[in-house]
């Protein structure tokens, strides 16, 4: 296993608004992500987990510390880090296929190759037949699947997901988790997935990183040794329940601090 991503003592302090005191969103945070890891970052709302993900994506600058991807320092957003947001961020003026090709077009990939890649990912995320639909005509789950395909079409080194299923109903959410997991099992991507849902965090990950309430810091780093391929029935096994009980306790303490 090789180190894919290294987060080295990253802090983020937001300046005070209207002369108020500055807000420390992130305490010095250090995390190493290996190749093919599927890490979920679990924390109560407002704990700085999204801030951490935005820093890795290059959308936010750390106050101190560095993020290194394959040994190179992250300074700006780039196609080597795919991101899927909680809000629906498909470009409404582009069809599903055009959305998936957006990054390829920005990098001047030739049309024939674009077509191959788009076809591949449309098949992978189960959107065949919807290539020429506009985002408005799709359900929330389909939109997020398109967003995942759009990020993966760029063949990023790491896929960052910021509560991508947060706005979906429970049933859709479970299905999406299974699909993303199957995708990871097949493609062996490196994934960093932010969530506040404990079951979601355990089900997909090989490591769950628990963050404390604001100011955020890493509180626990729990390995998940459930076998692959994982079926949704794994959620009813004693091992799963034990992990869930452990993490519920960890999160509860943090949630109480801010509640």
């Amino acid at each position: 296993m090789s180190r894919k991503l290294v987060i080295d003592r990253v802090t983020r302090v937001f300046p005070g608004v209207n002369g108020g005191p500055p807000t420390q969103a992130l305490m010095p945070t250090t995390l190493a992500v290996d190749d093919n890891d599927f890490i979920t970052i679990l924390g109560p709302s407002g704990c700085g987990k999204s801030t951490l993900l935005r820093v890795i994506a290059g959308l936010d600058t750390p106050t101190q510390g560095d993020v290194m991807l394959d040994g190179a320092r992250v300074t700006a957003p780039g196609a080597d880090r795919g991101m899927v947001f909680q809000s629906y961020t498909l470009f409404p003026w582009l069809t599903v296929r055009e959305n998936i090709c957006f990054g390829l077009r920005e990098r001047n990939v030739d049309a024939k190759r674009q077509d191959e890649i788009a076809r591949h990912w449309i098949g992978k995320v189960g959107l065949a037949g919807f290539e020429h639909h506009y985002p408005k005509m799709l359900s929330g789950g389909m939109q997020q699947r398109t967003a995942i395909a759009r990020a993966l079409a760029n063949d990023p080194k790491i896929l960052l997901l910021d509560e991508p299923f947060g706005a979906l109903d429970n049933q859709t959410r479970s299905l999406m988790q299974e699909q993303l997991l199957a995708l990871w099992e097949a493609e062996r991507k490196t994934i960093l997935f932010v969530t506040h849902d404990i079951e979601e965090a355990i089900f997909m990950a090989n490591r769950v990183v628990v963050m404390s309430a604001r100011p955020g810091r890493i509180k626990a780093d729990v390995a998940v040794r459930l076998p692959h391929p994982r079926h949704y029935t794994v959620k009813t096994t004693p091992e799963f329940s034990a992990l869930k009980a452990q993490l519920t306790e960890e999160i509860r303490v943090e949630a109480l601090k801010v509640a």
Binding site: P77, F85, F91, E106, R150, N154
Partner: protein, 275 residues
């Protein structure tokens, strides 16, 4: 008396009676209601004039108006006036849009450009265009340049500011998504800000075209030898209210037609914003 609340009202809601808020109407009913207004309007106008409640000197009756309209086209070459006015509106508006839209986009996209232009444009926006008429006559005479300039002054600054606001309010998460997909700044402007703002910019232009019509008539009321506005001033001297009303109605009809054309084009150009 029917109760307005309780059982009956609830039933009405469940059936979807006509008083349900935001309930859509069928296409046929929508058209019928729209036409009904004009029917009622003409009926009241007829009642006021044919019924002798208003003197003919102040308000011509609908039939007299139509007769005057026919005379205008048949004997006074009114078609040429209409053509001149349409040309002026089109020219002044196109000039303002061609310069104003790119400037607005640049201001919306790049904050230093906005900081440089915004205070002046905001100031200029409040300058009443009609107050420029004496100056414009001095500078440009009473020819076509003066008319085009007046319309330009009237709508250019509005276009710039509205386009800048539209572009500046592009959804940040779309811009961020584009960055994480590898877009460069020029790609953000051309392939995120522009397509995202396009439908609203088109809608703004539709709105502003209406204002251009106001300014062209103002320009033609003062110092013009052709155009609908010129005909209206001429008719005022002759106390021909039929012609004045006909002229106003022609303006309204042309405005309505251009509005429909804009709406139609927007629906064809931006199908994704409606679906």
């Amino acid at each position: 008396m029917r109760p307005l609340w309780g059982q009956r009202a609830r039933e009405a809601r469940e059936r979807g009676g006509p008083i349900t808020p935001l309930k859509p109407v069928s296409r046929a009913r929508k058209v019928a209601l729209g036409i009904a207004f004009f029917v009622i309007f003409v009926a009241l106008w007829s009642l006021a004039t044919f019924g002798g409640f208003v003197s003919k000197t102040f308000l011509a009756d609908p039939l007299a108006m139509l007769r005057e309209g026919y005379t205008l086209f048949a004997e006074h070459g009114f078609l040429k006036d209409v053509g001149m006015t349409v040309w002026r509106v089109g020219g002044g508006f196109a000039l303002a849009a061609l310069l104003g839209v790119p400037l607005g986009i640049a201001m919306g996209a790049f904050k230093p450009i906005e900081a440089f232009f915004e205070p002046f444009v905001s100031f200029a926006r409040y300058l009443p265009a009609s107050a420029f008429i004496p100056l414009l006559i001095l500078w440009a005479g009473i020819g076509e340049t003066q008319k085009l300039l007046l319309i330009f002054i009237g709508v250019f600054f509005q276009i710039v500011l509205m386009v800048a606001v539209i572009v500046g309010s592009t959804r940040r998460d779309l811009v961020e998504a584009a960055y994480t997909l590898g877009a460069a700044p020029s790609g953000i402007v051309r392939r995120v800000l522009l397509p995202s703002a396009a439908p609203q910019i088109a809608e703004t232009l539709r709105l502003v075209l209406g204002w251009a019509w106001t300014y062209v008539i103002v320009a033609e009321l003062i110092g013009a030898s052709s155009g609908i506005g010129h005909m209206i001033t001429d008719s005022q001297a002759l106390l021909n209210t039929g012609q004045i009303i006909f002229g106003i109605i022609v303006i309204g009809v042309i405005g309505l037609v251009s509005d429909f054309a804009f709406k139609w084009a927007n629906q064809r150009l931006f199908p994704w914003s409606l679906a």
